[in-house]
């Protein structure tokens, strides 16, 4: 492990960037992804807020943890300056930790959408290098690059990624099941501490070689993602993932 958040000089933070990226109004294509929640609902695994709570907690510890790690690593890399090739390595290391092809595609679709919005909102040489190397980057990678190049810290990028890993399915649950949005917001709010822990762990390894980054996962989410894609092709699904 090289530099960690605590040993870095405190950079000039652009806090609004994290807020913009985490905002559900950000036009990066996130609203069409449910993170496996639609498939779980279709299978009768989630009926109400009581079932939603463990789903979101589990997704945070799997997808959220992984995306936080890669967002933090990308932010660290963008801030310290890396060769163009680094982005391809980071991107393919995320591939390697995402066994479901459907999840890889969902991540790239959101990465592409975020890239489009970022190219209009924050044009920069780092962003152009990333997109020249990988035009459809993984979602956490570009979240990290945008955060890092804007002066945000790895932990900020990790927080954003981890939060999006739960806020997307939470919003999908409100839309699909008609759950009380206040109750669902309460569930997300109660994950604050866990979100901070995930972001902290991710920031602690942000400077590591991409090959050594953690590889948390959840086979059930992989299977739900694959099933969602198959059912989407055969019948009706409202969300892309």
């Amino acid at each position: 492990m090289s530099m960690t958040d605590s040993t870095e000089p405190v950079p000039v933070r652009s806090g609004a960037v994290s807020l913009i990226l985490a905002d559900s109004r950000f036009p990066g294509g996130g609203h069409v992804h449910s993170g496996g929640l639609e498939e779980a609902v279709e299978r009768g695994l989630i009926h109400g807020t009581a079932d939603l709570r463990p789903f979101l907690a589990g997704r945070l510890r799997a997808t959220g943890e992984l995306t936080a790690v890669f967002a933090a690593a990308a932010a660290h890399a963008a801030a310290r300056g890396v060769t163009r090739r680094h982005w391809a390595v980071l991107d393919s290391e995320f591939d390697a930790r995402t066994p479901s092809a459907a999840q890889r595609e969902a991540s790239r679709a959101q990465g592409r959408g975020t890239a489009r919005a970022a190219s209009a909102g924050w044009p920069s040489p780092v962003l152009r290098e990333l997109l020249a190397e990988t035009p459809r980057p993984h979602h956490p990678v570009i979240l990290g690059v945008i955060t890092g190049m804007s002066g945000g810290r790895p932990v900020d990028a990790a927080s954003t990624a981890a939060y999006l890993a739960v806020s997307g399915p939470a919003s999908a649950a409100v839309r699909l099941l008609g759950l009380d949005p206040l109750a669902v917001n309460g569930i997300v709010a109660n994950l604050s501490r866990a979100l901070d822990d995930v972001a902290g762990r991710a920031a602690a390894v942000a400077g590591d070689d991409p090959r050594d980054l953690p590889a948390p996962g959840a086979p059930a989410l992989d299977l739900l993602a694959e099933a969602q894609l198959r059912h989407h092709k055969e019948e009706v699904r409202l969300f892309a993932s």
Partner: protein, 246 residues
């Protein structure tokens, strides 16, 4: 991290899994500059994009099919559908046989059809990009929204012009109710006029209200039973082509 069976190349010189399948040459010189391996974006002359929106059941898909039938012979065109049931409209269009199925892309809207055409147009832009890559030189892309309410309009970032379709069966008060769809769309179509007498809709009221709400903006009344080719709307579309924006 331990070895991963599907990923034995950590230096990224053949990371075919990252979506675009190109291969980088091995080069360990960190200062080496490589040419951009990607094709430049096509110059100018992109396809004109027309949005077709309106309430559920007003005839958006039927109008889209009619435009494909009438304009498909003379224009290089493609369609993006946003029906909330994902493939419903795409299947209708494919079965109608009005367009090569590969020219139809369906997008998922996450149960929010208005969001997908207005607030976050990512999925639709991706679909348009996909079609433009598949069919270089497209003249026209028709983007059909899922059925929505009277406030749903397309973002100007997604379409060049938009049509709002209402029908007589929805009630002759609809134009009077206004809303951004009725008042600001580049064209308002009042559809199914052949059944106006059956549903008690007063056409004079509908058209005069529509003109009053819309000022100078055009209104077309039509019946796809009487004129299956939607000739008036087709002429309006022709008048938009080719687009002249950079």
């Amino acid at each position: 991290m331990p070895a991963e069976p599907d990923h034995d190349d950590h230096d990224g010189h053949d990371h075919g899994g990252h979506g675009h399948g190109h291969v980088h040459p091995v080069n360990f010189d960190p200062t080496a500059a490589e040419p951009d391996p990607f094709d430049a974006a096509p110059e100018g002359g992109r396809a004109c994009r027309i949005g077709i929106g309106g309430p559920v059941g007003s005839g958006k898909t039927a109008l889209t099919a009619a435009l494909c039938r009438t304009l498909g012979e003379e224009l290089n065109l493609a369609v993006v559908t946003n029906d909330i049931y994902t493939t419903e409209d795409a299947d209708y269009l494919r079965k109608a046989g009005v367009l090569d199925p590969s020219r139809i892309e369906a997008v998922q809207t996450g149960a929010c059809p208005h969001t997908a055409i207005r607030d976050d147009i990512t999925a639709n832009l991706d679909a348009v990009d996909e079609l433009e890559e598949r069919f270089p030189g497209l003249d026209l892309v028709i983007i059909e929204s899922g059925g929505d309410n009277l406030t749903a309009v397309f973002s100007r970032g997604l379409v060049d012009s938009q049509v709002f379709v209402v029908d007589v069966a929805g009630g002759d008060k609809v134009p009077r109710k206004g809303g951004p769809g009725v008042t600001t769309a580049d064209l308002l179509v009042i559809n199914k006029i052949d059944i106006a007498h059956l549903v008690g809709a007063d056409m004079d009221v509908m058209t005069s209200d529509a003109h009053r709400m819309r000022g100078e903006l055009p209104v077309i009344t039509q019946s796809l039973v009487d004129t299956p080719g939607a000739p008036a709307v087709s002429d309006w579309v022709r008048s938009l082509l080719p687009i002249t924006t950079a």
